[in-house]
């Protein structure tokens, strides 16, 4: 006999993933518009490889089949964080690290500590920094598919100072950046969609961005506060706030906890921004927050009980 409740919210995990994918589409469109079909190939490749890897892992470990679309989300988010000149080899390495090491070994669906896309991206940045520097000027269409299979270190193109770009160019994403994080308008479009679909909680992302703005203003007030604007526009932190910091699985998103996590992430981002590596500035805060959330869970008596006894509520 069935028991109550007899209805269920539409927002199940697969639907939530689908909504996130839909929210990411404007960024994908921007990526293709700015960096050509090469960006599309990279995005499809990372998403497909992530799905394949997780499916294979599930088969090998006997955990059934894929039941959500989180591998596709992870793959697309990762692609958006890559420099436009990234080769497929580097992308594949990032996917394998994110899916097998981070997501697979830490419990799989729903039980990860840190965002796997950010972890995969950071992994290739730290291990192969010279191969993750393929920035190109906007407007150079990357139709040279051959470069997707390049084993050579990509050549750096001389890029003008971001402060030389006009505000409207920065807002529209008309400057060299990671393939999907550059256009604020597209990121905000995705955010609005998620808000309308009630598929995002804003505590963490808002606190994250607020602290970054405050922190950067404090840093930049001695030089030029315009730099704060440039940083917010060009660093991809808004993308990270919307699509990584809001990750329900790895970031505590309840009320004050969510605000606190956002604030900690923001502080870390400000500190890292002073050192200048954009990928590190973007990926370390969500990873740190994920670890802190996990640690807090672990030290919390209730959370500890849960983790010790197998990690997750059984379906």
């Amino acid at each position: 006999m069935r028991t109550a409740p007899f209805i269920h919210i539409d927002n199940n995990i697969a639907v939530m993933d689908l909504k996130t994918i839909a929210a990411l589409l404007p960024c994908v469109v921007y990526a293709v518009f700015s960096y050509g079909l090469r960006a599309l190939v990279l995005t499809v490749f990372t998403a497909a490889l992530w799905i394949l890897t997780e499916t294979a892992m599930k088969k090998v470990t006997g955990r059934g089949s894929l039941r959500d679309l989180s591998p596709a989300v992870n793959g697309i988010v990762l692609a958006m964080l890559l420099p436009p000149g990234t080769s497929l080899y580097m992308a594949a390495l990032a996917v394998l690290f994110g899916s097998i090491v981070v997501k697979g070994l830490f419990g799989g669906e729903g039980a990860g500590f840190v965002n796997p896309a950010a972890a995969g991206r950071l992994f290739v940045e730290v291990c192969f920094p010279e191969r993750m520097s393929g920035f190109y000027s906007v407007g150079v269409k990357m139709l040279a598919y051959k470069s997707l299979f390049d084993t050579k270190v990509p050549e750096e193109t001389a890029v003008a100072e971001y402060s030389d770009f006009r505000p409207v160019e920065l807002i529209a994403g008309h400057y060299p950046a990671f393939i999907g994080t550059g256009c604020l308008i597209m990121v905000i479009t995705g955010l609005v969609y998620l808000i309308i679909k009630r598929s995002i909680r804003l505590e963490t992302p808002v606190a994250f961005i607020a602290i970054i703005i405050i922190g950067r203003l404090i840093v930049d007030v001695r030089t030029d506060v315009y730099n704060t604007f440039v940083f917010i526009m060009t660093s991809g932190v808004v993308f990270a706030a919307v699509f990584i910091m809001s990750d329900i699985t790895t970031t505590s998103r309840r009320g004050l906890n969510g605000v606190l996590m956002g604030m900690i992430g923001g502080l870390i981002a400000v500190a890292l921004s002073l050192r200048g590596n954009p990928a590190v500035t973007l990926c370390v805060p969500p990873l740190a927050v994920g670890l802190i959330s996990g640690f807090m869970d672990f030290t919390d008596s209730a959370g500890r009980k849960m983790r010790q006894k197998g990690g997750q509520a059984d379906a």
Binding site: G110, R253, D314, A315
Partner: protein, 496 residues
């Protein structure tokens, strides 16, 4: 509503998808399509209330009339009578089991299609009715809490008198998806509800009457306001007020009302009367009280929402005892046997496996028919949505896990026993985990307190005297005299 008015609310809870809340969107409500159901037969369980089973007073073959008593409480039991809502012949008296597991005798009556009323059912002509007469009428009419609790209304009035409560709260906070029977009742009969509130307030010795309603129920607020204005001018002794609430499920539960209205956390063993000096009655219950007082009509029918996802929705007035299958037949398009028939509403109801032999009872505010579909389950993703939704401020995800692992003591420490089975956590869980089933069954199994304790049922039973009578005896020696001085100027259902 003045914009400065405070909006009351408890923490958490859920606001269900707008798409589900058809009552806000559909036009039928404005057209007041309150269809009357004339079933071919009724099944009257002898235990439809909280308390003891009553004894059938009719025999097989006997002809009964509308309003006739067919079940009476045995002396010394906590119970109220049961009456027939149709005229016809008693075809059977046998044991039935209701979806909530209650096993009791039931009187089966086949309609004669004549709708003949019992001679006692006629407008009351008394000029003045004392508080104790009102209580007698409510008791004899078999009225129980129609919002779902099923506690005999007379017992609640007595408890209110015993604790000398200061406020009568009228619960107009129906909030479960699909259900809007109370709102239809308000739109149709706000005067009866307001008059019922005055009568019960008078009987309970209370002069302050507060209507609890969601701020966004504009139509119903206007209907009640108009009824209050019509009534208030004639009753200087009673004050009427609205208390506005934020619309969320399960707002109407008494412990959440206490939290939202008085900021008081009522424990499982406390009562609203004792802790907050207030007594809470569902608006449909008060309607029934006034119908009993003015028309001398016992509780033989009720409004209920018959609805489902297939687009056919209706509010009907059905005699108590109407088999669910007859309701489905009447509301066109709901006969599909592939559907799940729910005795009650979609978040808190129970599956009726045999709709032919499952009747509407006094507490049934809705019948829901939904397509059978399985919800895919996934592991918990620790999103915290269940904790955000739980009105009792517990962590359903964690408690579910602990119970599944057999760590009962730890689950108890986490507050598992507080669960009120509202279903909000399972409804909201994106992983489709049935948290409610696990937690609510545990909570039910450990519940040593019961409403029986609140009403001292067992103690009274031993004394071989009806609890209801016992309370009246108590009253007589205590505050009954004072209350009896309150003369309610009712005449023939009209305000004098």
């Amino acid at each position: 509503m003045p914009f400065t008015e405070r909006i009351h609310s408890f923490n958490n809870g859920i606001v269900t998808d707008d798409a589900l809340d058809f009552s806000k969107r559909s036009s039928f409500k404005k057209e007041i399509m309150l269809e009357r159901i004339y079933p071919t037969r009724v099944i009257l369980p002898m235990k439809q209330h909280y308390g003891d089973e009553v004894i059938p007073t009719v025999s097989i073959g006997e002809h009964v009339l509308i309003g006739q008593c067919v079940g009476m409480p045995a002396p010394g039991t906590f119970a109220v009578p049961v009456h027939s809502g149709i005229s016809g012949d008693v075809t059977d008296i046998k044991d039935i089991t209701l979806p909530n597991g209650v096993n009791c005798k039931a009187v089966f009556i086949k309609s004669d299609r004549k709708r003949t009323f019992h001679p006692s059912v006629s407008p009351r002509n008394d000029v003045n009715i004392s508080a104790s007469s009102v209580m007698g009428i409510i008791k004899d009419a078999g009225i129980v809490g129609m919002g779902g609790e099923g506690i005999p209304t007379i017992a609640k009035i007595n408890r209110a008198r015993m604790f000398h409560v200061e406020e009568l709260l009228v619960n107009c906070l129906q909030s479960e998806p699909y259900a809007d029977s109370d709102f239809v009742r308000i739109n149709n009969s706000a005067d009866y509800i307001v008059m019922g509130a005055v009568a019960v307030a008078g009987a309970a010795g209370v002069s302050r009457i507060n209507f609890l309603i969601s701020e966004d129920r504009k139509e119903e607020i206007l209907a009640l306001q108009a009824a209050m204005e019509r009534t208030a001018g004639r009753y200087s002794g009673y004050s009427f007020n609205f208390k506005f609430f934020r619309n969320r499920f399960p707002q109407g539960y008494y412990r959440l009302v206490a939290k939202a209205l008085y900021g008081v956390e009522i424990s499982e063993t406390e009562t609203l009367e004792e802790t907050c000096s207030a007594v809470l009655f569902n608006c449909s219950t008060l309607y029934a009280c006034w119908e009993a007082i003015s028309d001398n009509m016992p509780l033989v029918a009720r409004v209920l929402t018959v609805t489902g996802e297939n687009g056919i929705r209706n509010n009907v007035i059905a005699p108590i005892g109407t088999p669910l299958s007859e309701l489905m037949n009447t509301v066109n398009g709901m006969t599909d046997t592939q559907n799940l028939v729910i005795w009650g509403n979609c978040l808190t109801g129970l599956e009726a496996e045999d709709p032919d032999n499952t009747p509407v009872v006094k507490t049934t505010s809705g019948i829901t028919i939904l397509p059978r579909r399985d919800i895919a389950t996934m592991p918990c993703i620790h999103c915290g949505d269940c904790s955000n939704a739980c009105p009792m401020d517990i962590e359903p995800g964690l408690i579910h896990h602990l119970l599944k692992k057999g760590s009962v003591e730890e689950a108890d420490l986490e507050g598992a026993g507080k669960c009120i089975s509202c279903g909000a956590c399972s409804y909201i869980c994106p992983s489709g985990i049935d948290l409610t089933k696990t937690i609510a069954s545990y909570a039910a199994s450990r519940r040593t307190y019961t409403t029986r304790t609140h009403f001292s049922v067992d103690k009274i039973k031993l004394g071989a005297v009806s609890l209801l009578e016992a309370y009246e005896e108590e009253e007589k020696s205590d505050s009954a005299k004072k209350s009896d001085d309150i003369v309610l100027p009712f005449e023939g259902g009209k305000i004098v």
